[in-house]
């Protein structure tokens, strides 16, 4: 082999390894620099085709796990334990990648990577709304019933599992979850409201003592979908038929009651500006002592109890979200992170091995204790050590069990856009509740049509 050829080859192998070119490109380039097709393929096999070379650990298989942002170091510790135990025995080495602060940055990273058929990441942590969408693009592998039997799945929270399931297949393993909670001021109201009507009337009668009755997330963005489906599910309504996600069932009396209730809040028990609020902007109003009730995720609990930034430290508690109409139970929307397998990664079995480890009681328990994250294994919420570390978890268990995912659809981004648009217009009173729901209905039918 002549020197120039050697150098060119080194270069493309380096690029291949660092994930900058795909297998196809690799082959094309190898052939252009004068390598025969079969030689290029065998070279590719020799490189392992794996993009990441952690090098020097002697493991046969190197995997990369890209997680969401995790600041306590627990994910690193979990990865280390895996590498020293199961990984050591089976010749697998996992490298953990810290995630960016903004979840959106990660989705852009993933879509760019996967559109390029790249496998620089083997195991992806993805937000609950993406597994089914990624599956529709063939970007991730389904978890088979043999890998994760149905009996085993039953030990985990039903909502997150449902959120990762489409057409009978599960596309990612729910690792941790997040739910909408009702925060209320203990010093202003004696007990949390059971129904949305009660929340509205109590909010009305007490709001003079705070400033506003209720703050939530009404801006036109993903959070509005969560807020809407929580009220909708509370009234017993649905967006898509859970048994047939190509059927739109959003234009119902329940939905009309739910949306009419939300519209009545804007400028009533909620400030007009609630239609610009996202999670953190509503939290700031709440922490300033300006609201009786707030809908938010569990993260606001710790921050609200920090006296250096909160005026209401120790003065509030959390409860399940209310219900309405003929319904008798409230349902929180589910957020959270799930582990999926890149379909361009050649290490299918090893990827599952790592995910399986992350689902085991030991890893789930460690995550709950060390990182205070709400994991998906139900038994963790009965563990005395977990409960003593996170007293809030005791309250969370029933709420988690009743939580429902957002509509599950391979076209979720479009479904979400449409919900955001029509609900927002109704909240701004640009269109009536009935018009909003009927045009949402028409729109969704077009989007989810098989």
């Amino acid at each position: 082999m002549i020197t120039e050829q050697r150098e060119a080859l080194d270069e493309i192998i380096r690029k291949m390894r660092s994930g900058r070119i795909t297998r196809r490109h690799f082959l094309e380039r190898a052939v252009t620099i004068g390598l025969s097709g079969s030689a290029a393929v065998s070279l590719l096999e020799a490189c392992g085709g794996s993009s990441n070379s952690t090098g020097g650990n002697g493991a046969a298989t190197n995997l990369v796990w890209q997680s969401e942002q995790e600041a306590t170091g627990t994910y690193q510790a979990l990865t280390n334990t895996f590498n020293q135990t199961i990984g050591h025995k089976q010749g697998i080495h996992v490298t953990w990648n810290q995630g960016p602060a903004a979840a959106n940055d990660m989705i852009i990273k993933y879509t760019n990577m996967l559109r390029a058929r790249n496998n620089s990441i083997d195991i992806l942590s993805i937000d609950i709304t993406y597994p089914v969408q990624f599956a529709a693009s063939n970007w991730i592998n389904a978890i088979s019933d043999r890998q994760w039997p149905v009996s085993e799945r039953a030990k985990y929270l039903p909502g997150p599992v449902q959120g990762c399931t489409y057409q009978g297949k599960i596309w990612a393993a729910p690792f941790r979850t997040d739910i909408g909670l009702l925060y209320y001021r203990k010093d202003l109201v004696s007990r949390p409201p059971a129904t949305w009507d009660e929340l509205t009337s109590v909010g009305q009668s007490t709001q003079a003592r705070a400033k506003y009755g209720y703050v939530w997330q009404g801006a036109q963005y993903e959070g509005l979908v969560c807020n809407f489906i929580e009220v909708l599910h509370g009234y017993g309504g649905q967006v898509l038929d859970p048994h047939d996600p190509t059927k739109v069932v959003v234009n119902t009396p329940q939905a009309q009651m739910a949306l009419a209730k939300m519209v009545s809040w804007v400028g009533g028990i909620s400030p007009e500006a609630v239609t610009t609020y996202m999670e953190d902007s509503s939290r700031l109003v709440w922490q300033n002592g300006n609201a009786v009730f707030m809908r938010n995720w569990p993260y606001a609990y710790t921050l609200g109890n920090d006296p250096s930034q909160s005026k209401i430290a120790g003065k509030f508690a959390v409860a399940a979200l209310p219900y309405g109409g003929n319904n008798t139970v409230g349902h929180s929307a589910i957020g959270g992170w799930n582990l999926a397998m890149n379909s361009y990664s050649p290490h299918t079995a090893q990827n599952w091995e790592f995910i399986r480890y992350m689902l085991q009681p030991a890893a789930q328990r460690q995550t709950a204790i060390a990182a205070s994250l709400a994991v998906t294994l139900q038994s963790v919420y009965d563990d005395p050590e977990v409960l003593s570390k996170n007293p809030l978890f005791k309250q969370l268990k029933p709420i988690l069990q009743n939580a429902l995912p957002r509509p599950v659809s391979p076209r979720y981004s479009d479904v979400s856009d449409s919900i955001q648009q029509h609900i927002y217009q109704a909240l701004k009173k640009q269109i009536s509740v009935n018009d909003a729901l009927s045009s949402l209905d028409t729109d969704l039918k077009r989007i989810v049509a098989p």
């Binding site: 969408q133 693009s137 400028g267 400030p271 500006a273 610009t276 300006n290 981004s413 479009d414 701004k428």
Partner: protein, 310 residues
């Protein structure tokens, strides 16, 4: 020297070949000098512009074998009520902000078209907003528009222009007004300086002659200043209009998903939607470009009108 002589001769006499003409003018050197720039512009500006036309006719350019779908992406965005509203929003923003910036810019230019102690400092102070990144300016103004802690919200609420608990950026018209305010704040200085430069080349003798005739200040402004400024003003207006029609940062920050401009609508389509939304997003960017061409043609017509009348 020879070049000038050649040019002054009547055309029928010489009619040199292209090669001769190039040799008579600066030779090949000037072409070599502008070559890097022209190549660069060709590759990084012209090529993407043309490529956007191609992409806008495909189903999904990110697939390995995208297919041609004709004008489907255009009909798709043009039948989206959000996009139609975005066009309205953008045009409204453009008209109001450009007019406002020109009038205020003219006012400020007249104000500082006169030496006074500290004029340099004043000029530097008004230049400060111009130097800031638009997106950072938008974030700074966002702090002032905030419904709870913003000073502008507080002022508007005390004046009862805004109901308690509301915010300027809570409604479509509010977002447009907020964008106009911020854009005016940022761009008026630039306008003022351009107009000032135009003012300073108007011969003082014109004013002197006029004041001898006993005309009022207003009359002199209408009869001398404005006509003399017409050329520079039209060019400045053209630039501002083309800049305003592509407005992105302000609506990205203030309007977010609910009140997009054409450009921020296109951005959300391309980068925050599904893979199938990418090509319609590119079609929306082509529409921004078409608007730019229409605006340029209108101004070219206006400029031709004004020069022919003179």
């Amino acid at each position: 020297m020879t070049a000038q002589v050649a040019e002054s001769l009547p055309q029928e006499v010489t009619k040199p070949s292209l090669r001769e003409r190039i040799r008579m003018h600066g030779g090949y050197l000037p072409y070599l000098l502008v070559l890097p720039t022209m190549l660069l512009i060709l590759v990084i500006a012209i090529y993407p512009m043309l490529d956007s036309l191609r992409i806008s006719l495909l189903n999904n350019p990110l697939l390995s074998q995208p297919s041609f779908v004709g004008l489907r992406n255009y009909t798709r965005v043009l039948s989206d009520p959000v996009f139609i509203t975005a066009i309205g929003t953008t045009i409204f923003f453009m008209l109001i902000s450009v007019v406002l910036e020109t009038m205020l810019g003219l006012g400020i230019a007249l104000l500082i078209n006169k030496t006074f102690p500290g004029r340099g400092l004043v000029r530097a102070a008004i230049l400060v907003p111009w130097a800031f990144p638009t997106v950072v300016s938008a974030q700074m103004w966002l702090l002032m528009y905030n419904d709870q802690t913003g000073i502008i919200t507080y002022i508007l609420q005390s004046m009862h222009l805004l109901s308690a608990g509301d915010t300027l950026i809570g409604s479509r018209i509010g977002v447009i007004i907020a964008s106009i305010i911020t854009d005016t704040w940022k761009t008026t200085p630039f306008m003022a300086l351009l107009i000032l430069a135009g003012l300073q080349v108007i011969p003082t003798e014109l004013y002197e002659a006029a004041s001898v005739d006993g005309t009022s200040r207003w009359q002199r402004f209408i009869r001398i200043t404005l006509p003399m400024l017409k050329g520079p003003l039209l060019i400045a207006l053209l630039f501002r209009s083309l800049d305003a029609i592509r407005v992105f940062d302000l609506f990205y920050v203030f309007g977010q998903r609910s009140v997009p401009s054409i450009a921020s609508y296109a951005n959300f389509k391309m980068f925050a939607g599904t893979a199938e939304d990418f090509a319609p997003g590119v079609a929306a960017t082509v529409i921004v470009f078409l608007f730019g061409i229409v605006i340029s043609l209108v101004f070219l017509f206006l400029m031709r009108e004004s020069t022919s009348r003179n």
